[in-house]
């Protein structure tokens, strides 16, 4: 195995207090038999953007669902290790409790409420908050300020909007809960590169202006490392490598395995596929 050496200095920089999210050595089993995560540990510092990278089936979504405790509704269970959000263990909490504490997951594939309008989608996002009237209006206007496109589309049924607009609706809906931490699962999935860039710019804005910490699961390694401060690479349910985003982007193996580059420069897609078939980490 060829794993980059980790040093304490490479760890995500903690700003004052402890990390907002700490995942310690978790193991996840689905349906009592299928072992999906084997000892995953990661940390998200207060106000950081952390990327969780890896291919299909590496366990990125499972990691996010373990954190948001949505896993329980899919017959999965965290059997070892612990997850702490703002210093509190989450194993006995429901997704609703966590939303109340400020952590919201934006699921893979958007999952907007298709038969509700865009605005109704956003309003349901504030379900856990006791706001109404002018306060609710303000919260909506704030989302519209970040996503002007949603304001135009607000009275359309979400099911009829484009993929990018649905992704924006999903993120906007999560913002309505006034989170201090967002879990974004594959926000780039199925979207044109231009829209992906637009969405990531907004995510960075959210992070910088609202101080929302972000944990991002992405297959699009290139984009994710451009916007994240720190990255973890997951493969077959294990963290294979982690480090500051810049260091990962420059790493020879990451370039080869995830960015489609080798020491001889860019290879054709065909070569990369056969190469990956011969040589992998695990």
């Amino acid at each position: 195995m060829n794993v980059a050496v980790k040093s304490a200095a490479d760890r995500p920089a903690a700003t004052g207090a402890g990390p907002i999210l700490a995942v310690k050595n978790i193991e996840v089993i689905y349906d009592h038999v299928i072992l999906v995560l084997r000892g995953v540990s990661l940390e998200v510092p207060q106000g950081g953007i952390v990327a969780l990278l890896g291919g299909n089936g590496a366990g990125k979504s499972t990691t996010l669902k373990s954190i948001s405790t949505l896993l329980a509704s899919e017959r999965g269970a965290v059997t070892k290790g612990s997850i702490e959000f703002r210093g509190e263990r989450t194993d006995q909490l429901t997704p609703g409790d966590l939303v109340g504490m400020g952590m919201v997951q934006v699921m893979e594939g958007r999952h907007c409420f298709g038969h509700l309008t865009v605005e109704e989608n956003l309003i349901t996002g504030a379900y856990t908050r006791p706001i109404r009237g002018a306060e609710l209006r303000d919260a909506l206007d704030k989302v519209y300020a970040y996503f002007p496109r949603l304001k135009v589309r607000r009275s359309s049924l979400a099911g009829y909007t484009s993929g990018g607009e649905q992704q924006m609706t999903a993120i906007g809906r999560a913002m309505m809960a006034k989170p201090n931490m967002l879990l974004l699962d594959e926000p780039s999935m199925g979207l044109a590169p231009q829209i992906v860039a637009e969405i990531f710019e907004i995510v960075r804005d959210l992070n910088q202006k609202e101080g929302v910490s972000i944990l991002l699961a992405e297959q699009n390694t290139n984009v994710a490392l451009k916007y994240a401060d720190y990255g973890y690479i997951l493969e077959s349910g294990r963290i294979m490598m982690d480090g500051p985003a810049k260091a990962l982007a420059d790493n020879k193996d990451v370039k080869e395995f995830y960015l489609g580059m080798s020491s001889e420069g860019r290879k054709s897609f065909r070569d990369i596929k056969s190469y990956r078939r011969r040589k992998r980490w695990v």
Partner: protein, 300 residues
């Protein structure tokens, strides 16, 4: 009696019995909206609810005491259904949920008969299924008091439910849950409470429907099949629309009576038994989502 009065009598009689179909269908819509499942057990719930009500009255409680008891029992049934049937099946496919409700219907039917016996009972609501005198004197039309009462009760119920769905936070949460359980969970909508509330409400609607039907035809096992009458109403009105099932109920009730009276004799009678289903099939061909059902959204 002039022909036009006779026609109006048939029409009004049909509309009023249609409202009763709507009431049964309403229970289906509630649950379909929240769990996107066709609740096979709705008929059983109607039967169980009214049997409980009659049973409690037989124990010596007066009407006004028996009603809250029966409502309480239906709320408990709703909560138990959420806890023991739905919660373990979160995020499972709709087919799985449908099978679960089929199982549930057998359990409820069994428990109902175990607890209260299998005798046919009379339910006296104090409203007689007799024509209203002054209408008969004035116009010669025979319009039942029970039908009128059912019409009023159903209208009130429908109006309040429609408001609940469209105007309140819970209503919005409920529609969100109907669209996508997991997404609703992810933004913190408490699925448990919503499901509990919906099943309890559906139980209360079943109780009201059962009381009105039971007062007319006796409280007996056949009430389970009232649910079958609701099926064409659901197809025509749309599974997800409260106003839809009301209009469809009226349409089915009125058209089956009118057709029975005016065209029935040509077929040797009995048309009203199958006419609603023919109507439903026509709707399936032309407008599969029903009159007011949610459009089937398909992005390509």
């Amino acid at each position: 009696m002039p022909d036009i009065w006779f026609f109006i009598e048939v029409l009004v009689g049909g509309l009023l019995s249609g409202i009763m179909y709507s009431l049964v269908a309403l229970g289906f819509v509630l649950i379909y909206k929240a769990s996107s499942v066709f609740n096979f057990a709705q008929g059983a719930m109607v039967f169980f609810a009214v049997l409980t009500f009659v049973g409690v009255m037989e124990l010596g409680l007066p009407f006004w005491a028996a009603l809250p008891v029966a409502i309480g029992v239906m709320v408990l049934v709703g909560m138990a259904t959420e806890r023991f049937v739905l919660r373990p099946l979160v995020s499972q496919s709709e087919d799985t949920l449908l099978m679960a409700t089929i199982g549930l219907s057998f359990v409820i039917e069994g428990v109902a008969q175990l607890a209260w016996g299998v005798d046919v009972r009379n339910l006296d609501l104090g409203i007689r299924d007799e024509p209203i005198n002054w209408v008969m004197d004035k116009t010669g039309m025979l319009i039942s008091q029970l039908d009128i009462t059912a019409g009023i009760v159903a209208s009130v119920m429908v109006a309040s439910l429609a408001l609940l769905f469209s105007r309140t936070k819970v209503g919005r949460g409920l529609r969100a849950v109907a669209d996508d359980h997991t997404a609703a969970l992810s933004i913190g909508i408490p699925l448990k409470h919503i499901w509990m509330l919906v099943w309890a409400t559906a139980g209360v609607v079943a109780l009201v429907a059962g009381m009105l039907w039971g007062a007319r035809s006796g409280v007996q096992f056949a009430l389970v099949w009232v649910a079958l009458k609701a099926l064409p109403v659901l197809i025509i009105g749309g599974f997800t629309s409260v106003p839809g099932v009301i209009v469809a109920g009226l349409l089915v009730g009125a058209s089956e009576k009118v057709v029975e009276v005016y065209i029935g004799p040509k077929f040797g009678g009995g048309v009203e038994v199958w006419f609603p289903y023919v109507l439903a099939v026509l709707f399936l061909l032309v407008r599969p989502e029903g009159l007011f059902g949610e459009k089937i959204i398909r992005r390509v």
